[in-house]
């Protein structure tokens, strides 16, 4: 039986009420038009990570995003997310943001192309309406402009 996170989150939130999880108002579905070996792929992370040269995220309720170069050699990754679980991924962000692994799969021909950038946001934000009506559409426009076929969302 898989580990249950919701009871742990509720215990951690106490005495405040547990976080309310919100599902999208409309269920999304976009068919894949290309096979993986022809597709351009981007990572989408909620770890609030960025290059050390990019503007830091503001803790807790930041609804901005960063475009992080997909080249694994592009620079040091910093994780701004406030979660205490981050002590391990902060040792090696690749375990939640597999930039090097994705580039390797492109080199092996398993994946068609790298997107020019990956996208990073702050997870755990409660501003659901702004996320759905402003942040998500802005990211979708960035990905469409870059002709990304598949975005791989890795929650933090």
């Amino acid at each position: 039986m898989p580990f249950e996170y919701l009871p742990m989150m509720a215990a951690n939130a106490a005495p405040k009420p547990p976080r309310v999880l919100v599902a999208p108002s409309q269920r999304a579905w976009c068919p894949m038009r290309k096979s993986l070996d022809a597709a351009r792929v981007a990572l989408l992370t909620s770890a609030a990570l960025r290059l050390s040269s990019q503007e830091p995220f503001i803790p807790r309720e930041d609804v901005s995003y960063r475009l992080v170069p997909s080249d694994p050699g592009a620079g040091e990754i910093i994780i701004d997310h406030h979660s205490g679980i981050g002590t391990v991924p902060k040792q090696d962000p690749e375990i939640v943001f597999p930039r090097t692994a994705l580039a390797a799969l492109v080199n092996k021909g398993v994946v068609g192309k790298l997107a020019p950038f990956h996208v990073s946001v702050m997870g755990g934000v409660r501003r659901q309406k702004e996320i759905e009506t402003e942040l998500a559409p802005a990211i979708a426009r960035e990905l469409a402009k870059a002709e990304v076929d598949l975005a791989l969302l890795v929650p933090y």
């Binding site: 215990a11 993986l36 391990v88 991924p89 375990i95 390797a104 890795v154 929650p155």
Partner: protein, 85 residues
Amino acid sequence: MLVGTALDIIRQVLPPRAVFVDHPVGRTFGPPHDRERNEAVLARVLAELPNFTQPGEIRDPGFEWAPNGSREWESELRAEMLHDR
């Protein structure tokens, strides 16, 4: 496509496609500094892509954190999460 370690949360947030990775949260693609395992996990996740046929499907390729299938990591994670309250 979502790649997540928290199955109970994935079930509530209705992603269009999701792959469940039965690893501790924050270690989706393996332990730190293990590039071989990062790549193996990612490749196995991506291999699920053609298998999705309808919105809301969650696929479980059968990932195991420990090579012997041990779930001792759960008590360690529980302690870690409580410690970080």
